[in-house]
């Protein structure tokens, strides 16, 4: 990986943290630090992705700037994360484009997709603005294959790059796993990933958007995460309804796919909206260079996807349905297309870092002799 100076700086700061250890109560990063004396690139990568950016350590640090030790762990970890997102994704050109001009790239992706979808539609423009779609609902606007094939392709594309990046991360972390109980480690990691205990700042809450701890960010993240999952559930159920039960959309309001869809839409809109609001107010000093833009692209794309989805539900029996569907699908496409390059990937690496932590956890207790 490039950006050697980032690793040198991270190593400098982590060495000071290791001599101090006051932040041990906050999160696993500091407990993982204590089982090491030197910080290789692999260690730094591991610690960077283990960091949940709760910022407790920054506000607790007596060595934060203007102190000459200039410790700012959340910032240096964020910088490393951003550099590694770029280094591990593929193809390089896309990764670089996303790193350099994130918003531009996202918008381009959005526009391009919209155009593609629209051009498909141009074949049957009358259906786009039709008042009623009596027979096959959404597929009357966009034929089933035209919706599913590109969708699945983008989905697989994203997953493939995630897997590739995850594998590279796992390799670069180096160090063989301690002989921990792998099943137990996996279960603990699932709990850590789903419950996000490490956004609690060691108890009082995450120090976001400012120096006063609060539960708000963890709640918002929960809304987005669980909202997204109910979206997946909704889509899967719809697939079963259609291809197993042969029930075709649109489904009634009280049906399971729509219920999950509504949960998804409402919590995503609430969660992303609140996160954007918090971000606008947040302290920039502990944040990495470009982190805000990257986060914002992801949150906005997610939020817009949810929002347009809800619009479809609200206006699905009007002439607007066709256009809304196109816009919604374009949002979904943009989300999938940017997923391997933007903030979305943090889930993959965070999970792997937690898995590593839980696998070597037994070594964290017997770290020092004195």
């Amino acid at each position: 990986m490039q950006k050697l100076e980032l690793f040198v700086e991270a190593g400098r700061q982590l060495t000071i943290c290791n001599a101090c250890r006051y932040c041990e109560g906050y999160c696993p990063v500091f407990r993982a630090i204590e089982s090491r004396r030197e910080f290789s690139q692999g260690d730094v990568l591991y610690l960077a992705h283990l960091c949940h950016d709760c910022r407790a350590c920054f506000y607790a640090c007596m060595y934060e700037p203007p102190h000459e030790f200039a410790i700012n762990i959340p910032q240096v970890m964020s910088n490393i994360r951003i550099a590694s997102y770029q280094a591990w994704s593929w193809p390089e050109a896309c990764a670089r484009a996303f790193a350099d001009r994130r918003i531009g790239f996202a918008l381009a992706a959005f526009a391009a997709t919209a155009i593609v979808v629209l051009s498909v539609l141009l074949v049957t423009p009358s259906r786009l603005f039709a008042k009623e779609h009596p027979v096959s609902g959404f597929y009357d606007v966009i034929p089933y294959p035209a919706m599913v094939v590109p969708g699945l392709a983008l989905f697989c594309y994203g997953i493939a790059i995630w897997v590739r990046g995850g594998a590279r991360f796992w390799t670069e972390m180096g160090r063989a796993l301690a002989s921990a109980d792998r099943f137990k480690a996996f279960v603990r990691t699932m709990l850590d990933a789903f419950g996000l205990p490490y956004l609690k700042g060691g108890g009082p809450g995450c120090y976001y958007p400012n120096e006063r701890p609060s539960a708000i960010r963890r709640i918002c993240h929960g809304l987005v995460f669980w909202g997204f999952l109910s979206g997946l559930v909704s889509t899967t159920l719809a697939f079963i309804y259609q291809d197993v039960l042969h029930l075709f959309p649109p489904y009634p309001l009280e049906s399971a796919p729509v219920c999950f869809g509504i949960i998804c839409g409402v919590s995503l809109i609430a969660g992303t909206g609140a996160l954007i609001f918090l971000k606008a107010k947040s302290d920039r000093i502990p944040s990495g260079e470009g982190a805000s833009t990257m986060d914002l692209v992801f949150i906005l794309t997610l939020g817009l996807t949810a929002f347009t989805g809800m619009l479809i539900l609200a206006f699905r029996s009007t002439v607007a349905m066709g256009s809304l569907l196109v816009i919604h699908l374009a949002c979904v496409a943009a989300l999938f297309l940017t997923a391997p390059y933007g903030k979305f990937v943090h889930g993959v690496y965070r999970f792997l870092a937690l898995l590593r932590y839980n696998s070597e956890d037994s070594t964290h207790t017997a770290s020092t002799s004195l």
Partner: protein, 462 residues
């Protein structure tokens, strides 16, 4: 301008406790802190636990710790408090601290690793001293306490034994701030090298100040001039061994070195000067600051080999490293001949010793060596060899203001000032005369901060 009920001079733990305690009783309380906001809190910034007497284990204490046991520990490390009654009173009051602190926003955590086994006796606050200060300052904000940063109290206005106000300098502006009572919690004078030079001469130039650069003793000197009665050894300070490459001020915990008992320590003449294995490290770390302060150029070197280099908490600065003793001497700018002789004669005296057990006095000693090394004496013979340069790192000074049990400052004639109180490091000399009991400075600051704030509020209401 309207008069404050209580003026608190200083911004550390004792000061903010005093302000909170006063604000529970009166409405107009101001904290006048000399440091900018980001550096607020004096030496409290560098603390991490507090020693309290308690009768039961709980989530954060691993076992009971009686008042008598605290007192015995205090006597053992300090040779006995200056004022026994005040010390016992402090220990008794310390029982209430965990609850008082929790009620005012402090969060706790399980004891840290590598912290000299303090889990039973000391309570660790989450994130250390700066996090503690952040919580207290947030509580103060919610309670409506005014805080002025970058505000330097130049002078106290005192008529007879009555406090009237302070002269505050902010930038180029001077202003008189009046109050009905005041608490001075402005720390010691350890950051005032000119003051230390009165006793230590030019050696003071080689001292490192571990804490805040703002503790220059202005308030202490001002009050001593105004006939406040001093207590404690005027030249005494608490100092430990820190890395010589540490910054002059404010290096805090990360510059301390725990390597001494694992090897030998030589001075600039490349000779040993003290028994590195005299007692277990938690009982001896505190003497090394003054030991090094008495060596030529106030510098010493901890010498280790590859067997022992990973035995202690990892240091912030990289150790000097060499494949031979002569090369290490050159890297440390010591005379290679004497250095090699010193290490060789130590190795001869320790020949055949191996397997050091650091948790206990293992009795592995040198034979026929002066000074001897009484424990953990294993030869330094497995390259690469390592050296860490050491200097005295001053934590705090002992001399302060005499107070009574209400934290009231006493004058030279033995009478109290009517409305002037002291808390924290500035009055710690009433209890600590030498040595130090980890986490007890914060105990004194919290107990007397709470009392001083309360008593000052009573004065303001009277």
């Amino acid at each position: 301008m309207e008069r404050y009920d209580v003026i608190v001079i200083g911004g550390g733990n004792a000061a903010i406790c005093a302000a909170i305690s006063a604000r529970h009783r009166v409405s107009r309380v101001v904290v006048i802190e000399r440091a900018p906001q980001g550096m607020r809190g004096g030496n409290t910034r560098h603390t991490r636990n507090i020693r309290c007497a308690h009768s039961h284990a709980d989530q954060f204490f691993s076992g009971p710790y009686s008042e008598d046991e605290v007192f015995d520990d205090l006597v053992q490390v300090t040779g006995g408090p200056a004022n026994v009654d005040l010390a016992k009173f402090t220990i008794r009051e310390s029982r209430k601290l965990p609850q008082w602190m929790s009620e005012h926003g402090i969060h706790w955590q399980s004891p840290l690793t590598g912290t000299l086994h303090l889990g039973r006796t000391n309570r660790f606050f989450l994130g250390g001293g700066k996090a503690l200060l952040n919580s207290y300052y947030d509580t103060a904000r919610r309670m409506g306490i005014s805080v002025r940063y970058n505000a330097f109290v130049e002078d106290l206005l005192i008529e007879g034994s009555h406090f009237d106000g302070v002269v505050v300098k902010e930038g180029d502006k001077r202003e008189i701030v009046r109050g009905r009572a005041a608490v001075v919690a402005a720390g010691g004078f350890e950051a005032n090298l000119q003051w230390l030079k009165q006793f230590w001469g030019d050696a003071a130039d080689n001292f490192i100040v571990r804490g805040t650069p703002y503790n220059d003793g202005t308030i202490l000197a001002n009050l001593l001039q105004k006939r406040a009665k001093p207590t404690g050894d005027p030249k005494g300070f608490h100092a430990i061994a820190v890395d010589a490459r540490a910054p002059k001020f404010d290096g805090g915990i990360v510059t301390r070195l725990d390597s001494i008992p694992f090897g030998i320590v030589v001075n600039q003449l490349a000779r040993r000067f003290y028994d590195e294995g005299e007692d277990i490290w938690p009982k001896r770390y505190a003497i090394w600051g003054s030991l090094i302060a008495r060596q030529p150029e106030q510098i010493a070197y901890s010498i280790l080999d590859s067997k022992t280099i990973n035995c202690f908490l990892p240091p912030m600065f990289r150790p000097y490293k060499a494949d031979s003793l002569a090369e290490l001497a050159a890297a440390l700018k010591l005379d290679p001949k004497t250095f090699t002789e010193t290490v060789n004669s130590y190795n001869q005296a320790a020949a055949g010793n191996d397997g050091l057990k650091i948790q206990m006095l293992d009795g592995t000693r040198t034979r026929g060596l002066e000074p001897s090394k009484s424990n953990w004496a294993v030869p330094i013979d497995k390259p690469p060899f390592y050296g860490l340069p050491l200097r005295p790192g001053i934590t705090f000074t002992y001399m302060g203001l005499t107070v009574d049990e209400t934290a009231r400052i006493i004058d030279l004639s033995g009478r109290p000032f009517t409305n002037l109180f002291a808390a924290g490091e500035i009055m710690m000399g009433n209890i600590l005369t030498k040595g130090y009991l980890g986490g007890f400075g914060l105990t004194i600051g919290s107990v007397f901060g709470e009392i001083a704030g309360r008593e000052a509020a009573f004065c303001a209401k009277a």
